[in-house]
Each structure stands twice: as C-alpha cells, then as structure tokens.
C-alpha cells in the first residue's frame, strides 16, 4: 500500500504541489483554463510553515481514522483493500465534523461546494500530481513504513 511522505528539509515552500493538486482535480487540467472554470478547483494539499520549516499537509489516510468515526452520514469509509479513506460525495451532508476532528488539519472545508477537500492520492493517475510537481523531490510516494517511535 503506497503512502505519501514528505522530506520536510527539502521543502522550499514553493507551493507547486498546491497548484498541481488543484489542476489535477480541475476539469481541463490546464493552468490557464482551470482558473476560468465555473467551479474553481481547489488544492487538497496545503504547505504550512512552522518553526522555520515547511510542512506539506494532506490526508494521511489513517487506519482507524478519527474522521471515519466522526462521519455521521457514513460518507467517509476506510477501504482496507486500497488502504485509503474514501469519501462518498452522495452521502456527505457537509457537516464539517471531519474537518474538526482531523488531528493533522489535513481536511479543509470547501465552502462553495459544501464538500470537504481531501487528498484522493490521484488514484486515476500513474503518479500523484504533487509528487510529479515537486521540483526538489520533497514529496515521496512509497510503501507504507512504520514510524520509529
């Protein structure tokens, strides 16, 4: 099961991943056109700065995720086979509980759309858009590893 990791020391905060993410989820997929689309596509990933370092933040797809527990509509489900938290837009009521409980702050509310903005790992592509976009290879996609504690 592949997971996204970030080499924090390499992140220069250029936010190319944010732009690539928004484009990957737009209708046209092209920069100049995407900005003119009626439903503006938003990045699922955000680069936040803290303590002199830059942290690209996106959904960790946790096993036993708090957002899944908190979702009263049952729109968020952990798919064991895919190793990924899936979101069912049909079921979602836009209550923002997932936004509230995420310990990473990785889910953002899209006010216009009334849908949470979450990383879907670009499963329809060969490689997640943020990985392809990162000029310093700070975004890494690799098999899940247990964190040393």
């Amino acid at each position: 099961m592949k997971q996204l990791y970030y080499e924090v020391r390499k992140c220069l905060g250029c936010r190319s991943c944010e732009i690539a993410c928004a484009l990957a989820h737009s209708l046209s997929g092209e920069l100049y056109k995407a900005l003119g689309e009626e439903k503006l596509s938003m990045p699922r990933e955000k680069v936040l700065a803290c303590g002199g370092k830059n942290y690209p933040v996106s959904c960790r797809h946790c096993e036993g995720a708090l957002c899944v527990d908190a979702c009263m509509a049952g729109a968020l489900v952990f798919d064991k086979q895919k190793g990924q938290v899936m979101h069912d837009a049909e079921r979602c009521v836009g209550c923002w509980m997932c936004v509230m409980v995420c310990p990473y702050g990785a889910i953002r509310p899209n006010i216009l759309d009334k849908m949470p903005l979450r990383c879907d790992k670009c499963t329809d592509k060969d490689e997640p858009a943020c990985v392809a976009a990162c000029p310093t290879q700070a975004v890494i996609e690799q098999e899940k590893v247990k964190a040393k504690t």
């Binding site: 250029c14 936010r15 190319s16 732009i19 690539a20 928004a22 484009l23 920069l31 100049y32 900005l35 503006l40 596509s41 938003m42 990045p43 392809a132 976009a133 000029p135």
Partner: protein
C-alpha cells in the same frame, strides 16, 4: 518532450539531436524537460520579487493571500512584472541602436582628424542616399559634405537617447492620425533612455498601482524602441554597412562545410559580423587555412547577426535560436564568436565537448573562463582578424571522426527593405507603394501579416512559424518576416519564389510570378521590425487604405516567442494600432483577469490594436485572417478576389 519529432520539425535539427542523445550531450530541450513542471505562480505572473518584504505570492484559487505584504493585488503585480519585461526588451534593442550610432560618430570623427581614416577606420559610409535622407529628417543641411553630415547626424541621433522633452524625431514617420492618438494618450516617447528609466521607476515598490497606467507607460517605452532605438539601429546600419538588396542565400546546418574552417557568428550587432565577413576573406588567413589542410574559410551565422550578414552579403545562415548548440554538436565548428543577446549560457559546456572555441567579444556579455577578445569599432578589423586566425589554427584540433554535418540546406531570397520591396513591386521607374496598395484594394492580396520572433522549446521547433505562414499565404496574405521566424520559414523552403506556386493562394501567386518575389519576404533582424512600421506608414501615405496603421488589413504574430524583446515588439506594434497574436504561451498576466482582459479586449478602444494569445497555428491564422477581413470590410473594400488555395 522526449520524442525528437516532437522537439523539432526540422530534419537537420532532428539529426543532430539524435547525435546529442547518443553522445549524452544536454541541449536546451533536455534542460527544458528538467525544468518541468514550471512554477505556476511564475507562469501566472503572481510572484512579486520587487522588494525585500517579499517574495510575495497571490493565491490564484482565491483562498490564501490576495495581496502582497505591501498590499499590491494581482492586477498591480502582473502589470508591474510585465512592464519590467517591456523595459528590458526596449533596453536591449535601443542599446544596440546606441552602439551603431556611436560607430557612425567615430567614423565621421576620424575622417576629420586623420588621413588614414578615423577611430573607426574599418567602416565607411556605404549608403550616402540614406545618410542624406536621414540628415534631412533631422534638419541637417544635406549640402554639407559627407563627413560633416554624418558627424552632425550621429550627434543628433545620440541626443535622441538622452532627450528629456519633446518627441522622438522618428515618431514623425507615423501617419498623422497615429501621432494624434499617441499625443492624446500621452504616450509619444520623449527620450529613449528616459522612457526605459521612467518605466522602471514606476514599477518599483510603492509607485504605480494602476494596471492600465502601467501598461500605457509600457507602451510609451516600447514606442521609444520601435520608433526610436530599433529604428536608429536599422537605419544607421544601412548607412554604415550598406542597405540590403534582394539577395540569394542558403540556410540550415548543412551550410557548414566539412573541409573548411567553419566560423559561426552568433548574436545581434552586425558591426562585428560585418568585420568577420571581411576577415574571412583575408588572403593571409585563407593561405594559413590551406596550410592547415582546410580548403578555405567558411562563415555562417546564427540568430539575428546571421540575418544581418545574410541581408547584406548572402552569408549562409546555420540556423535559428534553438540550433545554436546544434551547430557546435556537428563537431565541425572551429570558432563560435558571439556578441550580445540570445546567446545561451549553455554554449560554454557544449563547446567543451568538442574542439570548438567559444569567443566572447562584448564587454557587456562575458562568460567566466571563456576566451574574450574584446571588439570595438576602433579596433574592429584587427580584433576580428585575431578571432578568425584563432579559428584557422584550431582546425587541426578538430576530431574528424566526430564530424556529422546534416545534409539539409535550403535556398532563400532575403534582403527586402521598405525601399527595396517597392522598387520591385512598382518597378524601377515607379518605385512607389502604389502597386501594393492597388493589389490590396482589388482583393488580389487579402492583406499583410508580420510574423516574427524567436523559438521556444515549449513549442515544437519551427512548427508554429511554418504552419502559420503557410496558412496565411494560402489565403493570399503577403507575409513579412524578421528574426528567427524568417529563418524557420526559410528552412522549410518558403522564402524562394517557387514557394508561391506550391503554397500561396491564386492572388498572391499572380503577384509573386509577375514580379518574381517569394510569397514570404525576409526583412532582416529583430531590430528590423522597425522596417515593418515604416513600411506600414508608407502604405498609409500612399493612400486608399485608411488614415492610420490600425485601418490596414494587417496583423502581426510572434508564434514561438521567448525573449523579453518579443514582448516589447508586441507592445510597440499594439501601440501602433496592430492586432498582434502571441503563441507559445500567453504573457505572465493570466493570474489577473483584469490585466489579461485589458490586453486582449480593452486596448482596442484605446490604441486600435490589441493582443491575442493562441497556442495553435491554424487557429492563430484564422484569427489573423478574420481580423484582416474585418478591416477590409471597414474600409469598404471588395472581399478577397480568390478563395483560399488548396491546403
């Protein structure tokens, strides 16, 4: 763009790129690939590095910051960034103009003080008629002797750079109505250097925040280039180096010769390349070349300096902007001598893969660790001869096993100027614009198009230029070209008279056959875009096609642009009333809807010209033809005489 066919349509380029790949030599295409993906903030123009509170960025998705630390919004930031590029582009062309005006002053200076010739004794006045005509424009008594006239003219030309008030003299060449529009907008350029400096001033932190005002200041600065610096460069080069006449030449990497000492001139200022032409004919050096085992010395050019020596001497053109490294990769170039502009820093590394010596000549453009033989108008021949000698001596270092010169070369006709075109069209005894105007009025010619500009690895090399130009001439649009665009079309055989039969519509074919010109006319280098402005003004003066350049059934395009100079050229064309399309990718203003809309929609009611951005050559041709047809309607002209020719 890993695939070689996607990189270029030009067979010679493809062949050398294969060699580069096999030998693991990086070229501009590889480096461009390594840059992918390019920063979206930069592409949208939303990154501001003007002051040290930044760099600041505007979030194009509207969530994050919508102003920089100073409060500048997307409109101000994109317009300011664009204006700075206009200033840089203008500075490049105009500084070139200054240098040649300075050369003229040295010629006249020396003639007065010494017998042997002067401080620029390698040059002389070669076009006396043009000197007289220019002197008259500047109010100098043309009864004076040649040197006095040249001295006074050069003084007045140099004063145009430092002028503080009033109007540049060359703006008087524009149609009256155009001059009025500029006056009303307050964008008549006052002094060449002043406009560049003032524009840069307005873009610094905390000065101009009105995007419309910034773009207008940009237009005034660009006009000081098009109707100032570039026009001085073109006209004084004609005086000092001779006005071009139609001339045959050859183009593409195949012009490099296996058994000769090959010297490539690359850059922009022909005072250097002109001397290279002389030095390459020096009997002493030819003798030395033969002694070294070569059959002789072969000179070829890249980029605009190639266009200059092509126009005046028929010196072959090795290629355009994206082929500069490839010339070296043929393994057959002894010396590449460069002056200023469009010289890739990468040349040094590519040259190091071969015996090729890169030689810089301008104090303005140096590379660390590269042979520098400084050129000045005072030591012109001596220093150039030294460089040619270096090339001849370097012939023995050539590794013959690594020489692969592609076979491709193509004939072309170049050397059309605003004077020469019309002698041809009108005949020697009625050298007027009359026949051209009549052809447009009758609809035999649909209109005119200027297709100019660079190459850019973002576009398949030469594809946009040639596809667009073929489509235009198929619709009976006479195409005027300069710079790397002209070289692109020349390589595909569009600059020979026979091209009319193959590609042009019936009306354009009739004209080309009657007077023996190609359907695509090569007007010279990028500073020679000023020739297009003066030609357009003379078409208006001839009568029957409106009162202003914006009335003409004409359009412009820079299909594969990359340089800041292209932006400036676009600005002076639009400020002169021309509908101008940019290919490759739009200006970095797409992050501001206001600025982009103003450029593409708002400006038409201001200057009569406007920008358009389109990355497809056929669609671009359609846009330009639709504009030309609209202008024909506005002038109440008959529709074009013939339907488009076969595709």
């Amino acid at each position: 763009m890993g695939n070689i066919e996607q990189r270029s349509i030009d067979k010679a380029t493809q062949e050398v790129l294969k060699k580069a790949q096999a030998e693991n030599i990086n070229t501009v295409w590889d480096r461009f690939d390594q840059q992918q993906p390019q920063c979206g903030f930069g592409q949208l123009g939303l990154c501001c590095t003007v002051c040290n509170m930044g760099p600041c960025r505007i979030d194009p998705f509207g969530e994050g910051a919508q102003t920089g630390a100073c409060g500048a919004n997307a409109d101000t930031i994109t317009a300011r960034n664009l204006a700075r590029k206009v200033a840089v582009g203008a500075s490049a062309h105009s500084d070139h103009g200054r240098d040649i005006a300075h050369t003229l002053s040295l010629i006249s200076d020396g003639a007065k003080h010494t017998h042997k010739g002067g401080h620029a004794h390698s040059y002389e006045i070669l076009d006396l008629e043009k000197l007289k005509a220019l002197a008259a424009e500047f109010g100098i008594d043309s009864a004076k002797n040649k040197d006095e006239m040249a001295k006074e003219l050069s003084k007045k030309l140099l004063e145009e750079f430092g002028r503080q008030q009033g109007e540049l003299i060359f703006t008087k060449r524009a149609p009256k109505k155009r001059q009025e529009i500029w006056k009303k907008l307050g964008i008549t350029p006052r002094g060449i250097d002043r406009e560049v400096v003032e524009l840069l001033h307005t873009t610094t932190m905390g000065v101009d925040n009105d995007y419309k005002n910034l773009i207008q200041s940009g237009m005034r600065c660009a006009l000081s280039d098009g109707w100032g610096g570039s026009m001085i460069a073109t006209d004084v080069q004609d005086i000092v180096l001779g006005s071009p006449q139609p001339i045959r030449g050859k183009v593409n990497l195949g012009v490099l010769k296996e058994n000769y000492v090959n010297i490539v001139v690359h850059g922009h200022e022909p005072v250097l390349s002109e001397m290279a032409v002389k030095a390459a004919q020096d009997p002493e050096l030819i003798k030395l070349a033969k002694k070294m085992g070569a059959q002789g010395i072969n000179l070829a050019g890249i980029c605009c300096t190639a266009n200059e020596v092509l126009m005046r001497h028929g010196i072959p053109v090795a290629g355009n902007f994206l082929q500069q490294e490839l010339a070296i990769i043929t393994g057959a170039v002894e010396v590449m001598m460069v002056d200023v502009q469009c010289i890739m820093p990468a040349l040094q590394e590519v040259a190091a893969c071969f015996h090729t010596k890169l030689v810089t000549t301008s104090p303005k453009a140096r590379f660390p660790g590269v042979t520098h033989i400084e050129f000045s108008p005072e030591n012109a021949y001596e220093s150039t001869k030294q460089i040619v000698k270096l090339a001849v001596e370097n012939f023995s270092a050539r590794n013959k096993e690594r020489v692969n010169i592609p076979a491709q070369e193509m004939d072309l006709v170049a050397g059309f100027t605003k004077e020469a075109v019309f002698q041809i069209l009108g005949g020697k005894y009625r050298a007027t614009y009359g026949p051209l105007n009549e052809a447009i009025i009758s609809g035999r010619l649909r209109g005119l198009a200027g297709v100019v500009g660079c190459n850019n690895p973002r576009q398949t090399h030469d594809y946009f230029h040639t596809t667009l130009v073929k489509e235009l001439i198929r619709h009976d649009v006479l195409v005027l070209q300069t710079g790397c665009s002209a070289i692109a079309c020349a390589k595909q055989g569009l600059l020979i008279p026979e091209a009319a039969k193959l590609y042009a519509g019936l009306g354009l074919q009739e004209i080309c056959e009657a007077v023996g010109i190609p359907p695509v006319l090569h007007l010279g280098s990028c500073v020679d875009n000023s020739r297009i402005l003066t030609a357009a003004s003379q078409v208006i003066n001839e009568g029957g096609l409106g009162e202003d350049i914006s009335d003409l059934p004409a359009a412009g395009c820079a299909p594969e642009w990359m340089s800041e100079k292209a932006i400036t050229i676009g600005f002076y064309f639009v400020a002169s009333g021309v509908y101008t399309v940019f290919g490759a990718s739009p200006f970095a203003t797409m992050g501001s809807k206001n600025v982009t809309d103003y450029l593409t929609k708002g400006l038409e009611s201001v200057t009569g010209g406007s920008f358009e951005f389109c990355d497809d050559p056929i669609k671009t041709a359609k846009l330009m033809i639709a504009h030309i047809d609209k202008k024909r309607q506005d002038l109440k002209l008959k529709p074009a005489m013939y339907e488009a020719g076969k595709a």
